[in-house]
């Protein structure tokens, strides 16, 4: 499709420590179109965060992107040098992190933090940079931006800090925004305000990748969803389709364990068991040990994404071979108290 601005193909990222190799991302593919919001959903440790950080090589030093392609506006990001990547980071692709308290430098004023990258990228000079920062702050609903610019992160409330970080990401007017659990550290009312800002940005035409463990957050404004498990996508679907009829058993489990924003009273069913050890991923379907529908074939045969509908594919032979459609809300699931990881 012509308006695809990000096309990630078969991404593999590994972390090596001593002799153990952790395959955090293990063949991840997805696309993001212009003006589209895509959610990447999964438990902690599913590789969703590494999957996007790998694109700009923002991973710890012992990590390595070993395979794959990631075309952003026609350029393969993974083939770029560190120096070339730097011209894209924070200019064309911006990040919003989970906790603004730690992601903002505590000893620097907002002014410096909101303007320095504009100057690095040659987007503005000192005076115009301040002007752009003020605009970006107004845009995310920070009142009295001139005053805020002189303040330090610790002088702001949690919600304001998060807005300031989004303003920082926006100030360079990037074409793609990657928001990594941007609301996890916030309480419910603040979550909604931040999501409203992101929603508005999307409506203004910005592409957004939202990384979250919470489908309730993802459904708020995302068009499509990629469900990740053990370093790869197990289902890719339009958001509405997934919510109406999750195909992969893991998606079902995820949905069943999700608390709706502003909605309560629904029974939550946590997925029993734990995500696999990423240093020793099982041979067949990695979800098989926790899957209520698993059979012998699941344990031996690797699963790949197969199309099952318009813009929709799933990595489960039971679904793609039509043996089961939407997996039933797993009645067989025990009453394990394993809670879904909250981060």
């Amino acid at each position: 499709m012509a308006d695809v601005i990000l096309d990630v193909q078969n991404l593999h990222t590994e972390f090596r420590r001593n002799k153990t190799v952790v395959r955090a991302v293990n063949g991840l593919s997805y696309q993001v179109r212009a003006g589209e919001a895509v959610a990447i959903v999964g438990e902690s440790g599913s590789g969703k965060s590494v999957g996007v950080r790998s694109l700009l090589r923002l991973i710890p030093a012992h990590g390595d992107v070993v395979q794959g392609k990631a075309h952003f506006k026609g350029i393969d990001l993974l083939a770029l040098s560190e120096k070339q990547l730097r011209t894209i980071r924070g200019k064309d692709i911006s990040f919003v992190f989970q906790d603004a308290m730690t992601a903002l430098n505590p000893t620097m004023t907002l002014k410096r933090q909101l303007t320095e990258h504009l100057i690095w990228h040659g987007l503005a000079n000192k005076e115009t940079a301040t002007q752009r920062a003020i605009e970006a702050m107004t845009d995310v609903g920070l009142d009295r931006p001139e005053v805020r610019l002189r303040q330090y992160p610790f002088q702001l409330s949690g919600g304001m800090r998060q807005r300031a970080m989004i303003a920082m990401a926006m100030a360079s007017r990037p074409s793609l925004l990657i928001a990594d659990e941007p609301t996890t550290a916030l309480d419910v009312t603040l979550q909604r305000q931040i999501l409203d800002i992101l929603k508005q940005k999307k409506q203004e035409g910005m592409s957004i990748i939202l990384i979250t463990h919470d489908l309730g957050v993802a459904r708020y404004f995302c068009d499509r969803v990629i469900v990740m498990y053990a370093g790869k996508a197990v289902e890719r679907a339009p958001m509405a389709d997934l919510l109406a009829e999750p195909a992969h058993p893991y998606s079902t489990g995820l949905l069943d364990s999700t608390l709706e924003i502003g909605m309560s009273g629904q029974e939550l069913r946590p997925i029993p068991g734990n995500p696999p050890n990423m240093a020793a991923i099982p041979a067949g379907c990695p979800f098989a040990p926790r899957c209520p529908l698993a059979e012998e074939r699941c344990r031996v045969e690797p699963q790949r994404l197969e199309p099952i509908g318009p813009g929709r594919d799933v990595a489960c032979w039971k679904v793609s071979e039509g043996l089961t459609t939407a997996t039933p809300a797993a009645a067989a699931q025990g009453t394990h108290t394993t809670e879904m990881a909250r981060r």
């Binding site: 923002l58 120096k83 730097r86 906790d99 903002l104």
Partner: protein
């Protein structure tokens, strides 16, 4: 903790947090100085022989005119005479100390203690300042280099070498330098101060050990900072090595660094005593050791109080700088060192 109670009427006027903070610190400093003086005085009182006895023994060795000598002896008698009870001696001493008058020294009766301090302290301070300055200038890049190359050879080779200079006291380093540069190569003189050639070895001996300690500190502080989320965030904004390492990381690593350099410098000003005695540098440390050997009580008392004052002033100074550098720490909370 010994701080002023908040309801102290004197402090009610000063609503400014910084003024209040400073006032509290000053009162604590005075309290500590009094405590140090009492401890020192009591200890010295326990020494065999009283002040006047020792004075009688040593005054014969001094080159004073008879008129001067009788004047000095009169002064000693009123300050520390046999008939003066110990607590009165102490009060007399402290009464003088308040107006910066410690009376004459025993060993050098024609000099007052404050004159000796005024002469000798600048020497020690210069030595310490130059050494620390050199050490800081070398330690910061070394520590940063090691941290950004964490677990690579640029990290552990310098750190391994620095272990050696960290393990060995400065006086041993001084002796090794003498063995090498004076005895073997004959390049540098073993004694004399001031002078460029003469000060190379003392300064080097003091800075080599400091480099190790300071670089190690910078390295671990830097490693800690580099792990922070905001460093990742700065990289995600497109920051290169320079702005990320120097703009974001180094700045925040230097804030805790300040807290150790200050007391370290103060400690060095007193700890130069060994280097001063090896190289015959007429600093306060040399006088102090001399005073200890000849039991020059006024000089011991005076210089101990002076050193404690320097140490506390330095701590206060560091605290103020720390609070200025780190916007998160205000003056409301009275921090304790």
């Amino acid at each position: 903790m010994v701080t002023i109670p908040a309801q102290n009427p004197l402090l009610a006027f000063t609503t400014q947090p910084m003024v209040r903070y400073l006032a509290a610190r000053l009162v604590r400093m005075i309290f500590s100085l009094v405590a140090v003086s009492i401890i020192t005085f009591v200890l010295l009182q326990m020494a065999p022989g009283n002040f006047a006895d020792i004075q009688r023994v040593t005054s014969g060795a001094s080159e004073l005119s008879p008129a001067q000598a009788s004047e000095v002896i009169g002064e000693f008698q009123t300050r520390y005479g046999d008939d003066v009870p110990a607590w009165k001696q102490y009060l007399k001493f402290m009464k003088g100390a308040i107006v910066w008058d410690f009376g004459p020294s025993y060993k050098y009766p024609n000099l007052t203690v404050q004159e000796i301090i005024a002469d000798a302290f600048p020497v020690s301070a210069t030595l310490a300042l130059i050494s620390v300055a050199i050490a800081v200038v070398i330690a910061i890049p070394l520590g940063v280099l090691a941290a950004v190359n964490h677990n690579r050879s640029a990290d552990y080779i310098p750190m391994f070498l620095l272990t050696i200079s960290r393990a060995i006291p400065s006086y041993l380093i001084a002796l090794f330098l003498i063995l090498l540069f004076s005895r073997q190569l004959g390049w540098l003189p073993t004694r004399g101060w001031p002078g460029l050639k003469e000060s190379i070895m003392p300064v080097a001996a003091l800075s080599v050990g400091s480099i190790a300690i300071l670089a190690r500190y910078i390295r671990s502080s830097m490693l800690e900072t580099l792990r922070q989320d905001y460093i990742m965030a700065a990289r995600a904004k497109g920051g290169g090595f320079r702005p990320v390492v120097f703009g974001h990381a180094l700045r925040n690593s230097l804030i805790p660094f300040v807290t150790i350099v200050g007391p370290y410098l103060a400690g060095l000003m007193t700890g130069t005593v060994f280097i001063e005695s090896i190289f015959g540098i007429p600093g306060l440390g040399l006088y102090f050791a001399d005073a200890a050997r000849s039991r020059d009580m006024p000089l011991l008392m005076g210089s101990t109080l002076f050193f404690a004052l320097i140490l506390m002033t330095m701590n206060l100074f560091v605290d103020l700088i720390y609070r200025m550098l780190d916007p998160r720490i205000g003056f409301e909370t009275s921090g304790r060192r």
